[in-house]
Symmetry: C2
Subunit: 357 residues, 2 copies
Amino acid sequence: MFQEIKNNRDGSRIGLLRTRAATVSTPFFMPVATRGAVKGLEPQEVLATGAQVLLSNTYHLHLAPGEKAVKKLGGLHGFARWAGPILTDSGGFQVFSLSHVRKITEDGVTFKDPASGQEVLITPEKSMRIQLDLGSDIIMAFDDLTGLDPAKAAVREEEAVERTHRWLLRCIAEFKKLTKGVKAADHPLLFGIAQGGLNQKLRRKSLEFVQSTEVDGLAIGGLSVGEGTKEMHAMLEFLSTLYDPAKIRYLMGVGEPGNMRFAIQHGIDMFDCVLPTRNGRHGSVWITGDKKLNLRNGGHVTDKGPIDDDCDCYACQQGYSRAYLRHLFKMADPLAGRLASIHNLRYLQRICESYRP
Amino acid sequence: MFQEIKNNRDGSRIGLLRTRAATVSTPFFMPVATRGAVKGLEPQEVLATGAQVLLSNTYHLHLAPGEKAVKKLGGLHGFARWAGPILTDSGGFQVFSLSHVRKITEDGVTFKDPASGQEVLITPEKSMRIQLDLGSDIIMAFDDLTGLDPAKAAVREEEAVERTHRWLLRCIAEFKKLTKGVKAADHPLLFGIAQGGLNQKLRRKSLEFVQSTEVDGLAIGGLSVGEGTKEMHAMLEFLSTLYDPAKIRYLMGVGEPGNMRFAIQHGIDMFDCVLPTRNGRHGSVWITGDKKLNLRNGGHVTDKGPIDDDCDCYACQQGYSRAYLRHLFKMADPLAGRLASIHNLRYLQRICESYRP
């Protein structure tokens, strides 16, 4: 359950999200543990960046090792050794973005497992079952993302939004069925996803629909998918006038510092993104002023300084030099990506912390 | 300087090696930080396995980032953030094993830098200068390894041994020149390398020659290079009767548990090997009884247990399950190789510790 604590003058707000695993402070950023691990990092290292909630991908974990195996191993908490809250996505985004062979019907989405070649059907109901087996604390509704396809957007956007709404009702019904009898304290949360692309009319409709249901949180899907910054900001500005203050707001897939600041100042409470870790693994780090620095640059070859003098992340505080990190990147040593990931994750947590009391 | 403390009944001995960085207990195993890092591991993690001395490769560091850059960055100690003793090899082994284009003369070895294509000449004198610039605490003499080439072994072995001896004298002379005026407490150690392949006559000759010089330690080169276990053990048995008790003995390139136990029980004090970390990165770990276990095996898919119930390494003590590690290996997540490397390094340190008081 979400509790708004205070609205700030800059448009941001602070609050508390109570989950069965822990109560956490908003705004917050969730590192992405795609397959149950933030690539190369121990859970303790992720925790030390200030992360409160971990995100894991239903699509990947369903394919390997499978939710039944994860359940046997104590759920994601036991499997990945993360005691805090875990949010799982619904699998929808990966089904639409990673699977080339797919068939979408009112029932759900059929795709081919890239590893085994076998056909897999995911329905709203199945997504709920998988996420509950994974032991997720925050469960996402399964949405229809066909509207994201630019070639089909004009025609399909409205259809996709309508189907997303019908699927949300099926998710809520299945979720209720599966969690019947579960004590309130052990109850996971269910979030709905509002779509609508860059169409204000559809966006308003979708937002109002999702907010009218019994979901515990509202997610904004279908942004940060290739549209321009201007378009994304305009939509966040538009949406900021429509929110129900009682519901937490999660902007999916956003994790670029400037966009995060803008979104927080337009009422967003939650974020996730692969950018800090993916960029980190490629040697790209953020430093004070939201500037990007490439640690692979030759200019760092004898640079004794840390990534960022003003940073309190583990890598900077331990005194790993830019010169050493550059060398490790050139040598393809995974320690480099690990330290840069830690730095970038901490950078985003510091942004969130700057809005919290 | 080496000090023998005690000879045990099983043929092993315990002692102390005083280096300018620290005094360490023998027998010990040195993890290999090829390019200044044990692949994927922080120095603290390596230290926590019980490692006392780190080994780094002159050949690789000379090519990138270069000894002058390392020197500017505080030597290997500052660069790689390892406060304990560091041993550098002479570069000889890599020149002979990794460089396809090379020319060997009495002066030294010319090879092509695989990255830049430029010709590089390494002489005994240059190897000393590079290792001193790197800030090494234990410097290895530059040896001629042409005898290792099976096609040339019969003809070249004696020639290679003779040249190794002449080069050792040049190394000693250059080392003295370069360290003239350095306080005793700040003096690095110099080790000579005995060669001779599987030829007892040559081995005795080489061992006696190296022991007759002013070197601080004796290294056995040219074993663990592809010969059978029986041949290696027979040679270690033969050599064990010839050692000067005042000199520390370093068996280069050995790190398989059974071979290490055999060597320790035949008077060897020091080891290095890439096996624990290279095997670890591929999912192969040692468990009680020197058995090998492949963590990638499907049998581990729901195995909640640690790598080894009897192991006190970080990975086992933290409770990382075989199931989770298997999953990470399948997903090519570098965290898997890191934890398996830690386990294997600890396995070898525990062998060494079992002989120490």
